[in-house]
Symmetry: C2
Subunit: 454 residues, 2 copies
Amino acid sequence: MQNLFQPPPGTRDFYPDAMALRRHIEDTWRRVSLRHGFVEVDGPTFEYLDLYKVKSGDEIVSQLFHFESRGEDRTQFALRPEFTPTLARMVAAKANALPRPIKWFSIPRCYRAERPQKGRLREFIQWNVDMLGGETPEARRQFDLETAALCIDTLREFGLASSDVKLVWNDRALVEQLFALAGLPPERYPFGFYLLDRLAKLAPEQRRKQYADNAVTAGEQAFFEQLAAGGDPLSEAFWESLGSNGDFAAYRDAISGMQAHIEKTLALMGLPGYATYDPSIVRGLAYYTGFVWEVVDVSGGNRAVAGGGRYDKLIEMFGGPALAATGFGMGDVVLALLLAEKGKLPANAGVSPPDLFVINALEQTDDAVRQLAILRAAGLTALASYKATKNIGKLLEEAGKAHARVALILAPAEAAEGKAKLKNLRTREERTIPLAAVLAETLAELRGAGDIAP
Amino acid sequence: MQNLFQPPPGTRDFYPDAMALRRHIEDTWRRVSLRHGFVEVDGPTFEYLDLYKVKSGDEIVSQLFHFESRGEDRTQFALRPEFTPTLARMVAAKANALPRPIKWFSIPRCYRAERPQKGRLREFIQWNVDMLGGETPEARRQFDLETAALCIDTLREFGLASSDVKLVWNDRALVEQLFALAGLPPERYPFGFYLLDRLAKLAPEQRRKQYADNAVTAGEQAFFEQLAAGGDPLSEAFWESLGSNGDFAAYRDAISGMQAHIEKTLALMGLPGYATYDPSIVRGLAYYTGFVWEVVDVSGGNRAVAGGGRYDKLIEMFGGPALAATGFGMGDVVLALLLAEKGKLPANAGVSPPDLFVINALEQTDDAVRQLAILRAAGLTALASYKATKNIGKLLEEAGKAHARVALILAPAEAAEGKAKLKNLRTREERTIPLAAVLAETLAELRGAGDIAP
């Protein structure tokens, strides 16, 4: 039975502490994106339902929250499950007017109509980074690594090291080399991609059904069964047992050449030791066209924290010109779990302490109201007590609990001379200042503590 | 016919310039809220449909986008049309654990299922500010004005003055005094509030139907007709023509006393000249219980930019304890229109210029990649060209167009000696520096320009 006064299952209430953590995550995503020269965009929270079929086919509908509009334009809308279709539509609509390369990021809330589970909610926040343009092989390789580097650099900004997270990568071209080695004819590659993407999730009898339904040869079956059993296609033993006479050395050299390039580029960027080749990374290769990757939590069973890759055909599908594209997404739910596990949540839930706390021991409130307004108009975060007490000791305790840096004390003895006391709550030093100079003296005190810039 | 590749009617694509303006609006709301000691919260984008009936009755349903969940818990959900029911639910659930007063703000996206029109979209962003607790009359008055002052202070931060916007206010108690003067018996007050709220929107025949349906006396009709015709109940002429023998002076004195208090408090807060009494401000008084107000655009036919008031009964309706509450909301659509009309949009769409632009005239890219990473790791926004050219003049042009403050020039002559050039793009001065000191010298250059703190 639903409880009307609870958030719907799979959604969250963001009370102040949870909201501060969400701000920390979103602000970090945004800050590092801007540093790397990406600009922020966003779209509607809902789109025409049919928009999501363009990329994902009809089967997507069962995973969407959708509803009918009211009024004359009765159409089906759906809450966005991801940002990419919106991005593709927006890029396609203005492809020729946008400066190239297009370097966009967004931080949308997204929705999936499924039963919630740990790490998978019905409503989540997903950071999206996309880089479009750059048609040469060199530019594609560069843009693939620029986006992946932004992802790793951001995780580093959160406090995660290469001992915590790894970039595991693959490439559609390498998967095709793998299929060739296994003896699949090129016309079987689409089925190969389809099966590879699902292999880890299929039970033995489900795999057998796939083999039977798709006339898979005994040799191909042996190959898929070895992969399903965790066999390593980078080992000679894997191919010997299959009796393959393909060019295994060329496959291995292609991988090590690419791995060396990725490792060298990331090292130049100050991110050595993050990248590893992983033939099991597939990420629904029907959509991706080249490089694919995930960033995984090393100690958490390789749980994916982020994932992306190259998708050079998509902008055309949304009515735009042919346009090379690469990008990734990272959700807030798994990231927050990982940061908590690694002890990397910010102190004090990331909430900035107030600059100043006004303590009013006078009978009237006019001076306190006036000083609060002057301090706030200058950009300072200024609090005051709402308690009736004029006990300075108790009010100082409250200021301390709020982690205020400075207290302004308005008390009768000083007020009679047009003065007040300013107390530094870290050094515990206090001094008497003219009421007319509260703002200047507070700024000086905060500067002295290194809390704000001179 | 829908165009799949357009945003749904009444929603918006936020390309970089539009997104920068949205950021400017949201960041300003957030920054001033924090300064005034409010903390940020949020809730789900959708709630149980029935939650919205608690505050607004069944008629709200036709104004909501709603949909059924999938899986076993088939329930109706609705996209939030406003934040208040979520806030009331969240406060009610933890009322006893939350420190008082509760000072919350939120910046949710909200939805209305109606045909879009200028200033009213189907998807919009609404800043919400609420202050709960404070049961004495003094505390209520104080909290009413603290929230209203935050609203005005924020509009001032956007660049709007008291010649642009006004706080127009009313109070449920004053409306009851008005009804008493007009001779309405107390049991007719609920109908009076109902009619007053709709009076400006009803055509003469609709008003006559209301009178007939509700057995309104000839005297009451004359009163409502004078209000509908724009008569001023603060003028003696208004009451003389009605033949009222009520205590008009007491009504007028109550208003001028409250106006003086509001004006004095706002003046202490550095916000003189904003407040005006306006008997036509009603804002659906069934929900509000005391002070009600709007901030209106003076030159735009008093279009409301924000609105709010006191709602002391609501937390109980959502399962919580009796808790005094006051707050307001401000949408982004009307605000953006107003800022544009008043020439108060930020320069350059509010986008911060990059700190530095790396110009690479070398054959290799390793040095450029390494320097970009070092500068970004130090928190600087560093860009580079994606063009193939090594023409320094052309690249400097690109750096200038990006409004970069400093250019780092990597060219063969300097590189051979382990050096580079650093050019200040404002003063046009340039100097040669060691490659190993790029970060330190860039920081020094930006400090010299006052762009970052020492």
